[in-house]
């Protein structure tokens, strides 16, 4: 059972901290018997571009769950393409929105007093991201590493049909 772990590779300062966070989550998921997939750690092929690689990894591995890790202050251009593809699949009825889990740092996803969820960080995200929420993708909010890990375990268990 495969969880495709998506997210930005670099933060605004250019460090690979967000990628390292995904790798650490992958390591923990591995320990629980899941099969996490981190695109950057999968072998490149000379005959394919980035999007072709992304599509191939989905086709070959048939992920049961997609987990999208979004910390604050990261470069989101890359995952915009990936999220757009997932949004297309959901919109066409080829992917259940419930299988795309959004792991958002809490400050990115405030709730108002009526339980309406928004997405913050103007200027560093597109309103299309909110479409994923509108489609019914589950949102997990976390403030620090420990909380993120708790939610990652929850997503992995979901994958396992627990």
């Amino acid at each position: 059972m495969t969880v495709f772990l998506l997210g930005p590779g670099r933060d605004e300062k250019g460090t690979e901290a967000p990628l390292q966070a995904r790798r650490e989550i992958a390591r923990r998921m591995n320990a629980t018997g899941m099969r996490p997939l981190v695109m950057e750690d999968e072998e490149d092929r000379e005959d394919e571009n980035n999007f072709a690689k992304f599509r191939r990894l989905i086709d070959e591995n048939q992920p049961v769950t997609f987990a999208v890790l979004v910390p604050l202050n990261c470069r989101l251009q890359g995952i915009s393409v990936e999220l757009g593809h997932l949004l297309t699949l959901i919109h066409e009825g080829r992917l259940d929105a419930g299988r795309v889990h959004l792991l958002l740092q809490s400050l990115l996803a405030p709730l108002d007093e009526n339980g309406v969820l928004a997405l913050n960080e103007p200027g560093n995200r597109t309103r299309y991201y909110e479409d994923l929420i509108d489609e019914g993708c589950p949102v997990h909010r976390w403030a620090d590493w420990r909380e993120l890990n708790n939610h990652a375990v929850a997503v992995a268990l979901e994958d396992d049909g627990a």
Partner: protein
């Protein structure tokens, strides 16, 4: 008085966990808040506590189904909640102590 208020506040996450468990694991944010009769800030703290432990995820009602409910979320117990109920007897004491300090009793977790 402060102590009484503090103890009461620690019971809120437990109450929310019980409520969601009794409601087939899912309730609208406003339904849960109103059922517990908590002030918005009290309810927000209780929810934050469950989110910290990964026990609750948020899911909006799909817009095409309910345009009037745009991005209004349901609170859903996660698979972690189910797993915790199985792990209840095996949880180490430090985990239980930390959870209790945040208002989550082992009994309530077993219901998750």
């Amino acid at each position: 008085m402060g102590v009484v208020r503090d103890v009461f506040a620690r019971e809120h996450p437990d109450a929310l966990l019980h409520l969601l468990s009794a409601a087939d694991r899912s309730l609208l944010y406003t339904e849960a808040r109103d059922a517990l009769r908590l002030r918005p800030e009290e309810f927000r703290r209780a929810l934050n506590s469950l989110e910290r432990w990964g026990l609750v995820q948020l899911r909006a009602v799909p817009r095409r189904e309910r345009p009037d409910e745009r991005r209004r979320v349901r609170l859903e117990l996660t698979a972690l909640g189910r797993a915790v109920s199985h792990l209840h007897d095996e949880m180490d004491s430090s985990w239980q102590r930390i959870a209790a300090a945040e208002g989550l009793s082992p009994e309530a977790l077993a219901l998750a």
